[in-house]
């Protein structure tokens, strides 16, 4: 379980996150949703320690991660798989090498085993016949998927995905969402997904945190989200036609 307590982040004079408190459970897909610029990425990066919170703490289990030294953080980080919003694949390495990289760094597998494991993960994210291409040679959506393969290659305890399916077609999006859910259940990971895609929200939102202008506005799950009477949340949700239809359909039952 990951616990965020009273987290505040101020850049220069700009308050980007304000007093966020929440928990993310094991074996469930936890979503952070909100408009573009609401602070989702900053929150996720604060949770993994890439951004130093101005105030507040992040607990991994009972360990106060924020207070750990660089070396102590390392032990937790080895159990983290993260998919960045821009994929962050290594430009100088091929698709296959990118996915094999964590294996090189942290396992004693033979090259054959590493390749096998990497290809297994690549297949899971539906990337085939691209092993020897460089990131510059594949599409944006494909980069995301390769990055997801890299994030799960070590069977992490914590899986963080920053907009895993922005830039993907609806079909692939669903596939990626399902994959994230599967992995979460199979390996009982603590999974946090940033998204503003209502399809994902309805599809895999077992626990949802809605943030608006850096503040937590609503918390719940995909069953409750459509019937919430929070105005800001409704604006966000029903800006999406798809969700509107869903609500109608529900109303007609």
């Amino acid at each position: 379980m990951i616990r965020v307590e009273h987290l505040t982040k101020v850049f220069d004079d700009k308050v980007v996150l304000e007093d966020i408190t929440c928990t993310f459970e094991k074996g469930k897909t936890n979503l952070i949703i909100g408009q573009s610029g609401s602070g989702k990425t900053v929150l996720l990066k604060s949770i993994v320690g890439l951004i130093e919170p101005t105030e507040g703490d992040v607990y991994y289990g009972d360990v106060n991660f924020t207070r750990l030294s660089f070396t102590e953080k390392k032990d937790i980080r080895k159990k983290i798989g993260m998919l960045f919003q821009g994929a962050a694949l290594f430009d100088s390495a091929t698709v296959e090498e990118n996915v094999m990289f964590p294996l090189h760094m942290f396992t004693d597998m033979s090259d054959e085993e590493k390749r096998e494991r990497a290809n297994f993960c690549l297949k899971r994210v539906n990337v085939v016949n691209a092993n020897h291409l460089y990131p510059a040679e594949i599409s944006g959506g494909m980069k995301k998927r390769v990055a997801l393969a890299r994030a799960i290659v070590l069977n992490p305890d914590y899986l963080f995905c920053d907009e895993p399916n922005s830039g993907l077609d609806p079909q692939t999006s669903i596939l990626i969402d399902q994959l994230i859910k599967e992995i979460t259940e199979e390996f009982q990971t603590v999974t946090i997904v940033n998204t503003h895609d209502m399809n994902s929200v309805m599809g895999i939102g077992e626990k949802i945190l809605f943030i608006h202008e850096g503040r937590k506005v609503w918390e719940g799950n995909n069953k409750e989200i459509l019937s919430s009477d929070n105005e800001i949340l409704n604006k966000f949700v029903f800006a999406n036609q798809m969700a509107m239809e869903l609500k109608k359909a529900r109303g007609n039952k």
Partner: protein, 250 residues
């Protein structure tokens, strides 16, 4: 006052970064692979151009000395000596270092800067890897290894260039030139130039890495960092050239 403070701040964070770079490597074998790659990026790719520059500089230095000393009182062999010593003492370490500050320096800074702004460095950090050490150490070690080698190669090529220009133009008799090449040779000059090039290697690779690694923002800032890397590397090369010369030759 502000500029001074800024300079001190940069020096401080440069030293802190070096502290991170020189902490214990996690997986030696991977570092070795990175090192070989950097050897190629930084060193081998510069070999051709260094050969060409050295060849031309060697010949132009020789011709200029020859045409400026057409005096019956000066022995002709001094031209050979002049070519040899100017290559060894100054050209093959300092000039090549300045050239490498432009080529390798901007290359290092833009590579690291791009990795920074596209979150590749964050991706390494998140895996629990010391990204500074992982990315920068191989660059520094490869430079320390290759710069002295480039210097030796440049000396040999430069002297050959000088010799060739004498052969082609006949400005002085070739035997005189050859005699000058061997006249009053001081082996310490070679040691001196190798010490210089090693220190220049460190200056260029570490300063350029610093500016690249600490980029914040976007592509524009990467370009700026790359320029800064070249400027500050060059200034420091020239500064340390003076300091080292005073220390080693006085």
């Amino acid at each position: 006052m502000w500029a001074m403070g800024n300079l001190l701040y940069q020096l401080g964070s440069y030293i802190l970064l070096l502290g991170k770079v020189f902490s214990k490597p996690e997986k030696k074998r991977i570092y070795y692979r990175q090192f070989l790659q950097e050897l190629n990026n930084i060193g081998i790719s510069s070999l051709g151009i260094v050969l060409i520059i050295s060849l031309f500089m060697g010949s132009v230095v020789t011709l200029q000395t020859a045409y400026n000393t057409e005096s019956p009182f000066l022995p002709k062999y001094l031209i050979g000596l002049g070519c040899r010593d100017s290559m060894i003492l100054e050209f093959s370490s300092t000039m090549i270092a300045l050239f490498m500050a432009g080529k390798a320096g901007s290359n290092i800074a833009s590579e690291l800067g791009t990795m920074r702004i596209t979150e590749q460095i964050d991706a390494l950090e998140i895996m629990g890897i010391n990204s500074a050490s992982f990315l920068i150490l191989p660059k520094i070690v490869a430079s320390l290894f290759f710069f002295p080698l480039l210097t030796i190669i440049s000396i040999i090529t430069g002297i050959f260039g000088g010799w060739l220009s004498v052969v082609v133009t006949g400005v002085i008799p070739v035997p005189d030139f050859n005699y000058g090449l061997q006249y009053a040779f001081n082996p310490f000059f070679v040691t001196y130039t190798l010490i210089k090039s090693t220190i220049f290697a460190f200056i260029i690779s570490s300063i350029s890495s610093y500016y690249g690694y600490t980029v914040e923002g976007g592509a524009l800032e990467v370009g700026r960092a790359s320029t800064k890397a070249v400027v500050y590397s060059s200034i420091n090369v020239l500064l340390f050239n003076v300091i080292l010369t005073q220390l080693l030759l006085s």
